[in-house]
Amino acid sequence: MKGLRTSIIQEKKRTEFVIMEDYKFLFKVVLVGNAGVGKTCLVRRFTQGLFPPGQGATIGVDFMIKTVEVENEIVKLQIWDTAGQERFRSITQSYYRSAHALILVYDISCQPTFDCLPDWLREIEEYASNKVLRILVGNKIDREDREIPTHVGEDFAQRHGMYFLETSAKEAENVERLFMEIAAELMEQARCKELPRYEQNTTSLNGKTTSIGDAGICGCSRLS
């Protein structure tokens, strides 16, 4: 009885909701990295177009949403901004798993934040899907006191199979590009695999969400 009813409803949903939803793809993006490297600023810059003056450190996990257009398709990005502090590690880790893309951020003017990258990679290895799109970001390029040369970051990214980009949340350098390329890349992946699109699952509310990460990756172009 229950089962029958459900199948009828799901049938209904498939035919109708396609037209009704206001976006075609939904991707989950998670930002990680030491506290203070500028994760929250990057998210704010991208989602709200501003560089927030002196906000407190993130606690646990913060959430933002941004809808963008890529190749005439509406893409919704769910952005989870995590706290860098050790004590929130267990709750933040729990958000890695469902991520489609993980942005690992360090501060180009702060060597220790770069030195911690291997630890972060271990975390990601352990808790995220192994197919997750990984992007290394060196933030705060507006600063004069750079400690990590670009090529060092680039090398590191290459060695670990990550995309690489340098940004400034303050000067809005490469921020838009970072997220747009992620959206494009994920969309490409979704199309490559000809997976059921998100329009079929509309939001994460509905049906089975097929995570791109789970289903294997195909040869897609790198962020340049």
Partner: protein, 796 residues
């Protein structure tokens, strides 16, 4: 735009028109009630349109959100709430989809007010019982978002609190919605629990009480205005709903959270959280929580001692809650695990730093707390179990036990003492089952003086039933001042002491023979004897006690090994015990005699009276006979009250009682009663070796003779072992008194064989046990039952 809608409204579907009509021109005017009623009426009469209505409302709201026209968004949500409430259960799931999409849409907005509004709607939905749950609905986003809200860091403190409350409320809603039906969503999945549990704990840990010692989580009020309080309520609900397979999913994140947020030291919050868990969890799973905490302790084996101590302390604070519900194997598992931790701790650090000791203490406390809340019969089991873990195979070897073993022994005995203090003896025979008594007596002869003290303390706490222990810690001859609580010994008690008295007395006697004794050892043995006297003193048992104290006096007079101070100590406890026995058994002429000696000593030799000293200066060890207890006079005193004639006539006891030194063995006078409470395996088994008592020459059943027999016996067995050939050589060629001393490390054999003999004596009528065979008839293959229980007791 709106005007445009109006003009073409006639062409629009009816449901869209009805929806449009509920919105006022000006959002401040709120929902247009009349039109809302029309919409409701329509949706009730045409329920098949519900999903379209919902979808349209959602689309309107989406548009309004993106245009920041929050007033209209609020109205749309309100309309959806009303429709949801009015829906018939059967048609509800047509509407749920768009309803939840609406909620999500609002939660995605950056406006806290919309998020809070959405949460309220969600909670309303969560409280509705759906006929047909929306199996296709996923709660992933809600768990993620609400958990995030629980950590809100909004600059405005009031808003922050509101968002956090909404987060907690939302999580509660998700749990309520999903918990009963795994098909909807397995909320117990680690993906969810790893978010929900830390989010609740994070709010709880900011509570007033979480950093105070005496938090009382017992009576929570569902305070929806206080995030910590509210989070706690949710936590209780969550834990309360967890079934067996889910408990770990809750406990694991709790432990992880406490680790991450460094909440073990100090451990107020840890204790508080675990109390909440213990009080909320279904009682049959309490043990799982204890187990999880125990495992966590394992995982912290490399962590700083302070953390381990704190975890152990937390364990000790909650373990009692589990004790009431734990049954069977789980009890021993917990004990066993605690003992293992103790063992590891001992082996880790032999030098025992202060921190390590604190850690061990925390573990021992946990053990004690646990035992404290178990029924008494289980306490006995636990004491037996702990005793079985005490390593004493090495005690038996000539070389002293390794340092680690000694430490472990003493730790285990301390644990035993802890459990013992929580146990209230009712009948001595249930407390001191042979399988427990034997190893305890054996430990009372350990080479380490500290350990012997511990054993006596265990005896004290287990024997003392009338709270006389503090009055009898030190010997005294002023019995009246003590105000002792004395109750007539019960029948089972007397049977017990008749049966086991001899081996107990023997062990105490031998323990006093040891040259490593100090005043504390002598004093503690006095206390044991005094407690036995008070608890069990009766006309029936007085004889054995008196025989023992005569032997002790003799030891003090004749020993060449015991130092003078201890000899004086012995004399002092002899007279103290004599006076005590006379008082307890109310033998007035014996009292008089005792007091006379006291007076004499007071005048001539006060060093032979309490208090005991460890140093007496240069006093002569010579003692005039008027200061000593005279066997003949004691015997006379007893005869005068008719004790001997009534009780002991017709037995062999009178022949060798006071005339023979150490002859406190026979108790055939109570053979028949001895049978009554027997029936323990131990006795049966002992009785099945009839050869033992056959060889005993009943007429000469004295301490000496038994000792000789046993020595010969062990001698024979040793000959079988190549490596001990030298010893047997020694045994054959050494004069008897020396031999006794040499065999002392072998008291295990002596003890077990002796008790075996005693058991036999108790159950076998004297008539059957006259003609003897040879000592070698005691075959090693006949394993007494207590050795089966405790194989490690078996020294060969």
């Amino acid at each position: 735009m709106f005007s445009c809608c109006w003009c073409c409204s006639a062409l629009r579907p009816r449901y869209k028109r009805l929806v449009d009509n509920i919105f006022p021109v000006n959002p401040q005017d709120g929902l247009i009630k009349n039109n809302m009623e029309k919409l409701m009426f329509y949706s009730l009469s045409s329920p098949e349109k519900l999903d379209r209505i919902g979808e349209y409302l959602f689309q309107r709201a989406s548009r309004d959100i993106s245009r920041r026209r929050n007033g209209f968004v609020i109205i749309a949500m309100e309309a959806m709430d009303q429709l949801l409430a009015a829906c018939h259960a059967q048609t509800l799931n047509l509407f749920v989809e768009s309803f939840l999409k609406m909620v999500q849409k609002l939660l995605e907005s950056t406006d806290p007010q919309l998020q809070i509004l959405a949460t309220q709607s969600f909670v309303r939905f969560a409280n509705i019982e759906e006929d047909t749950p929306s199996y296709h609905t996923r709660y992933d986003f809600f768990v993620s978002k609400y958990s995030s809200m629980c950590h809100s860091n909004n600059d405005n403190i009031t808003v922050r609190k509101q968002i956090r409350l909404a987060g907690i409320q939302g999580l509660q809603g998700v749990v309520r919605k999903t918990v009963s039906d795994d098909l909807v969503e397995n909320i117990w999945n680690m993906v969810h629990m790893d978010k929900i549990v830390p989010s609740l704990l994070y709010n709880m840990q900011n509570a007033r009480y979480s950093n105070k010692e005496n938090a009382t989580p017992e009576s929570p009020t569902e305070e929806r205005s206080d995030p910590p309080q509210f989070a706690e309520t949710c936590m209780r609900e969550l834990v309360g709903r967890a079934s067996f397979g889910h408990i770990r999913c809750v406990i694991k994140p709790v432990l992880k959270h406490l680790d991450n947020h460094l909440l073990w030291v100090p451990n107020y919050f840890a204790i508080h959280s675990f109390r909440i868990i213990m009080f909320s969890i279904q009682s049959q799973y309490l043990y799982t929580v204890v187990e999880a905490l125990m495992t966590h302790l394992d995982e912290h084996s490399q962590s700083p001692l302070k953390i381990r101590t704190s975890i152990a302390d937390t364990l000790s604070k909650i373990i009692s809650i589990a004790a009431g519900e734990s049954v069977g194997p789980s009890v021993l598992e917990i004990i066993s695990s605690l003992l293992t931790h103790l063992r590891v701790s001992v082996s880790r650090n032999l030098s025992s730093t202060n921190d390590e000791q604190l850690y061990q203490e925390a573990l021992i406390n946990a053990l004690g707390e646990f035992a404290n809340h178990l029924p008494d019969y289980q306490k006995i089991e636990i004491m037996k179990f702990i005793m079985s873990k005490v390593p004493y195979s090495k005690l038996d070897s000539i070389t002293t036990a390794g340092k680690g073993d000694v430490l472990l022994q003493s730790i285990l005995l301390k644990s035993l003492l802890k459990v013992g203090t929580k146990y209230q003896t009712i009948h001595l025979n249930t407390t001191f089952r042979p399988s427990f008594l034997q190893p305890l007596l054996r430990m009372s002869l350990a080479s380490d003086a500290e350990m012997r003290l511990l054993v006596q303390q265990i005896f004290h706490t287990l024997i003392d039933r009338h709270k006389n222990i503090n009055k009898l810690t030190k010997p005294t001859v002023n019995i009246i001042d003590l105000n002792l609580e004395i109750e007539k010994a019960s029948r089972p008690d007397i049977i017990f002491i008749k049966k086991h008295g001899p081996e107990i007395y023997m062990a105490l006697y031998e323990s006093l023979e040891l040259t490593s004794n100090n005043v504390d050892n002598v004093q503690s043995i006095y206390t044991t004897l005094a407690l036995l006297t008070v608890e069990l003193g009766s006309e029936e048992t007085v004889l054995e006690l008196l025989q023992l104290i005569m032997s002790l006096q003799d030891l003090a007079l004749t020993s060449i090994e015991i130092n003078t101070a201890i000899k004086f100590n012995l004399h002092a406890i002899v007279i103290s015990l004599l006076v005590l026995i006379a008082n307890v058994c109310n033998i007035s002429n014996l009292m008089d005699y005792g007091n006379k000696i006291v007076r004499n000593r007071y005048k001539e030799a006060p060093h032979l009276l309490p208090d005991l000293c460890s140093e007496y200066g240069h006093l002569s060890s010579g003692i005039s006979s008027s200061l000593l207890v005279d066997q003949a006079i004691v015997s006379e005193c007893l005869k005068e009250v008719g004790l001997e004639t009534n009780e002991l006539q017709g037995t062999n006891y009178s022949n060798n009682s006071l005339q023979h030194r150490y002859s406190w063995v026979d108790n055939t006078g109570c053979n028949s009663s001895g049978d009554i409470n027997d029936g323990t395996i131990e006795l049966d088994s002992a009785g099945s070796s009839p050869s033992v008592q056959k060889k005993l020459p009943g007429e000469e059943l004295t301490f000496d003779s038994i000792k000789r027999i046993l020595t010969e016996n062990s001698n024979v067995q040793m000959m079988e072992e190549e490596k001990r050939m030298q010893f047997s050589h020694l045994f054959r060629n050494t004069p008897f008194p020396d031999l006794i001393k040499k065999t002392q490390p072998k008291h295990d054999v002596l003890q077990s064989k002796l008790s075996e003999i005693f058991n036999v004596l108790n159950i076998e009528p004297r008539s059957q046990s006259i003609q003897g065979s040879t000592p070698s008839d005691i075959k090693p293959s006949q394993t007494p039952a207590y050795e089966i229980h405790f194989p490690e007791l078996f020294v060969y």
